[in-house]
Symmetry: C2
Subunit: 388 residues, 2 copies
Amino acid sequence: MAQALRHDAMRAGNLAVVLAALDRRGPLTRAALAETTGLTKTTVSKLVGDLIDAGMAVESGTVRDGERGRPGVVVRLSGHRVAALGLEINVDYLAACVVDLSRTVRLLRTQAVDNRAASPSDVITRLGELATGMLADAAGLGLSVAGAIVALPGPVDRSTGTVHRAPNLGWRDVAVSELLALPLPVLVDNEANLAALGELWFGSGATLGDFLHVSGEIGIGAGLVIDGALFRGAHGFAGELGHVVVSPDGPPCRCGGTGCLERYAGQDALLHPGEEIADFVARLKAGEPSAEAACGRAGSALGIALTTAVNLIDPDTIVLGGIFAPLFPWVSGPAEEAMRKRLGQMRARVPALVVSRVGADAATLGAAGQVIQRIIADPGAFLLDPQR
Amino acid sequence: MAQALRHDAMRAGNLAVVLAALDRRGPLTRAALAETTGLTKTTVSKLVGDLIDAGMAVESGTVRDGERGRPGVVVRLSGHRVAALGLEINVDYLAACVVDLSRTVRLLRTQAVDNRAASPSDVITRLGELATGMLADAAGLGLSVAGAIVALPGPVDRSTGTVHRAPNLGWRDVAVSELLALPLPVLVDNEANLAALGELWFGSGATLGDFLHVSGEIGIGAGLVIDGALFRGAHGFAGELGHVVVSPDGPPCRCGGTGCLERYAGQDALLHPGEEIADFVARLKAGEPSAEAACGRAGSALGIALTTAVNLIDPDTIVLGGIFAPLFPWVSGPAEEAMRKRLGQMRARVPALVVSRVGADAATLGAAGQVIQRIIADPGAFLLDPQR
């Protein structure tokens, strides 16, 4: 089949059209697929056969097609064979997940580790070990992993697989895709962008309209989703919320500026050195004044930065993710108060703050989800790969 | 012709296709128009005839069609009959312009007047007088004005022709379209959005890639142009650069917040009360220290707000317009310095600051240009209007 496809761009395009219809519209009969796609029933039947052979679709039950029609066999997208690997390098953890073609999360693992203490190549070697273990476990589940994307805490060059600068890791121009050397295609992307996509595909994103997703980690990033797509800016560097200037004479930031949001609301400004987020939440639940005061300061600073973001980009909703998900009860009030005070006179409605439904896993899930999007956009490329 | 068109949506669509081709590609023969649009030569000839009858196109000279072809008559878009009215209400002036279908500026007038001292209905009455005079002068030039858009310094509801809130005018929920009562369709839009479009169509916009256009007036607004289109945000309120928080504990702003950019870099923060911009520029040229210091403070504050804008939306280029055009030599240096200091470590290239080529007229021109866009998108609607 690979040979035939290689010389048939139209057939590759038609495979994508049929798979996209199954993904977007759910289970359909071959007749309904023909109607939806405008392809003939004969063509659809052949393409569905190819997708079933490739493990991307399965038959599941029958329905009556229309009121008087004969019962038709329903075809649906299948997650039993094709999958994607999502990876994340962040300042104090590594994470990996395997998501199948139906966007079901099959495996998810996180390793707490201070990556600031290690060299880039050591961190990438450790991520490679985590990824290799995930690939073996995925194979044990009968899954064939088509590709991986690595989420990184800084601006990246997606075409070369390089992170330009990750100030909170102390990295500059690290060729992550090349160093990772996994036996499958590996791309990179910015973790805040991927976290927004993670919320869109695995959280409450589909119901939110245009939303800004805020990723609270050691650094703070944001991703803006407009009409179901990520807004990346002219060079792919949009959404650097952590370096929005909250107070120009404030403390110096690792980016070279001063008074950036990260210095007031990043994880290092909230937690004790080495403290886990769960322990900080425990202190908050116990009503410890210093922990509550830290959240108050962080929430106010976040509200100022979000006021600025709303003035510039005007989203429907703002989703607080990463550490701001568990801290939502303590951070959202002060942030909302700052926004209402500054935006309330100019706008009939101040954008709602809502809690992320995927939290700290958003970027890793978004990375895998982005690979799934690529497979669905071009299943022919996957079917043609001689490795599969 | 109107009756025939009324029942022929396809013909209206085809008229738009042909006019858009003349607008985008310049003069073409009927044969080249047929090839470009995919319509038959007979259909194109009929549509071109209708456009010529309506004064939207003219024949102008001949060219050889291809190497061996017979000479063909060239048709081009014509500005001799159809035109648009751009209007602007700002804090200390009213402005109006007439732009013809070929985007040539035919008339442009500005009235310096302090609109804060007058009621909304008085201001709108005065704008109506200015507009009526322009319509008479346009008629004298043989121009038929198809519609008007009013640029307003605040968030608007374009569907109802209302400005929600113009804090620097002290206006709230003013139904501008209704009150203006001109004998042609009148829409409203935000002046910073229209100024960005004015720069795109009448300034250097076409060469700038994705750009952020900053409108310095009493208030400061911005418009983001991405892929040749305006980014408006979820509710049409994006680009409120003037209310980006430069210093959260700074002086109170009319928006209800504190330390907004407008308080440091708006016209009232720079000029003496009642002073004209030309007089302020004269003081700067004479090297007056207090004027230079005011520009230094404004430039630094602008640089901080633009750092934040670059971090969030990542444009290729930033265009300084409105009063920042004549003040560019004194404001751009401090702004660039603040941006370089804060952005230089994170990005290989800090977006360039360039001076607007249309300056204070950008919003008025953008308003007329937006009407021209609407006519070109649907010339049938214009041809059908019984008033014409």
